[in-house]
Amino acid sequence: MHRVGFTTTIPLEVILAAGKIPVDLNNVFITSPRSHQLIEEAEVDGFPRSTCGWIKGIYASVLEEGIKELVAVTEGDCSNTRALMEVLSLKGVETVPFAYPHDRDAESVRFEIEKLMRHFGVGWDAVNLSRERLGRIRRKVRELDRLTWEENRVTGAENHYYQVCTSDMNSDPDRFEADVDAFLAEARARKPFNDTLRLAYIGVPPIFDDLYQFTESLGARVVFNETQRQFAMPYDTPDMVEQYRTYTYPYDIFHRLADILMELERRKVDAVIHYVQSFCFRQIEDMIVRQKVPLPILTLEGDKPTALDARTKIRIEGFLEMLAG
């Protein structure tokens, strides 16, 4: 079956209604055993050293995977995606732009979704059917999230993994749902964790692969993964347009902060890790996060897909020690 790649969360319902296989290229890149080489390949092809690792990783993943059609989010994510789209179009990849309007205007969101539907030749009936199908899986993942913060039976890394996978349902919704079911059954039977500290992780997903394990080895568990939870569409909404309007990630920082502040309180979080990607515009937003979030914040910066480096570990340890008093 024909695979459709994308650069960040898009209305997955449309891709599935069209009978295509969705592929979130971020997930392909970060789970590849060659992730580090993929970055190098992109740099050899001419991507500047000083651009986002995710953009470079997506570029090389598209080529490696032989993806022929790509939905690129040109508004609501970074402008690097535009250049990525242009470069890939020269490599013969069909690129389909999708834009989240900055002001979250409902008409504009509807227009963008319908444009995507026209491109893939599907109507609302089919799309709403796949929305129901996905809604069932998303509600299960929401339960997994609840087990993380309310019952303390799920680790930060597990919470991260299952939520981040919902962007493309691991390219196979049925199999992913079975995975979630099996995990939920196992997690429900666990003894609750006994953490000394409860952390929130906000910002784009980490490019490091051992952050959660490291904080947990020091007694601090992540009980809130901000954007990963957003990928799983955690709200009950009456329709698709509203669903993608409520989704916070592609809109302004203040819309995100409203969700963040509510969850920090609900989940009784002690401190926040704000992850930013090197060379990302969201590094600037750290200033606003620090003004608006009334908890201790550690800002971590990641560049390439590696384990945590010694410096970052020193900073995390210092932060957790400080919190422990």
Partner: protein, 257 residues
């Protein structure tokens, strides 16, 4: 008695304290010290402190040992309690200055740390992350380009030549360009010192206090201290043993404080 050890990127620093009283301080070049007295046993670093001659056998037998430093989460030092650098430096500054509220600026070989201390407690901190152009190593490199000692470099602060390079290595060729233009060496030294101050200002501004406590090897640079006072408009306190502050802090933590 307590022994404190701070394994830095350039120097390994040692302190022997009796309670709050400093009995002895010492330092060695890190690489030389590791080569001579260090050895890996499994995941643990074994330092042959007895062979190093820094402490007497009686002191080694009787003292608690607390360690901090760069290798801390890749290496465990056998038989020692290990604490984070930030905690060590804050403890050292508390003991050495007697102050309760201050902003600590620690500038070492690679690290620059800024910590906010309120009521003797660490309340927030920030460290340089992806770049070490704001560290002592930068001063060493620039002194080498100017063919001066660090001591000579550290004398100057007046009328600095402007140096703008973001990168500490490109900064070297920028400095060579300024030498060719015929600027007096005093102004070039001041320019190098000024660059360092400019680079730490964004970190320092985040944690404003009335007093800045400056520690680490860079604190021995009087030009930097003067420029820092000018730039911040704050009182800059340099404790008596700035370079050994982390080791002193470790030893102080060994008392159970």
């Amino acid at each position: 008695m307590q022994i404190g050890i701070d394994l830095g990127s350039r120097k390994a620093k040692f302190a022997l304290l009796d309670g709050e009283r400093i009995l002895r301080l010492a330092d060695h070049d890190t690489v030389t010290f590791y080569k001579r007295y260090g050895r890996l046993a499994g995941d643990e670093l074994e330092l042959d402190l007895a062979a190093s001659g820094i402490f007497t056998p009686d002191e080694l037998a009787g003292a608690t040992v607390v360690v901090t430093g760069y290798g801390r989460n890749t290496l465990a030092l056998r038989g020692a309690r290990i604490i984070s650098e930030i905690r060590a430096h804050v403890a050292g500054a508390l003991l050495q200055t007697g102050l309760r509220d201050f902003t600590l600026l620690d500038m070492g070989g690679q690290d620059t740390k800024v910590a906010l201390v309120r009521g003797e407690k660490l309340t927030d901190f920030v460290m340089n992350d992806k770049c070490a152009a704001s560290s002592g190593r930068y001063l060493e490199n620039m002194a080498a380009i100017l063919e001066l000692s660090l001591d000579e470099l550290s004398l100057h602060w007046e009328d600095p030549v402007k140096l703008d390079a973001t990168c500490g290595i490109f900064g070297e060729s920028e400095l060579i360009g300024q030498i060719l233009r015929g600027h007096p060496v005093e102004r070039l030294c001041a320019g190098v010192n000024q660059t360092l101050v400019k680079r730490v200002m964004p970190m320092l501004k985040r944690f404003a206090s009335e007093t800045v406590v400056l520690t680490g090897g860079v604190a021995r640079n009087r030009g930097v201290v003067r420029l820092l006072e000018n730039e911040t408009g704050l009182a800059v306190v340099v404790p008596e043993h700035p370079q050994h502050n982390g080791a002193i802090g470790c030893a102080f933590m060994g008392t159970g404080n």
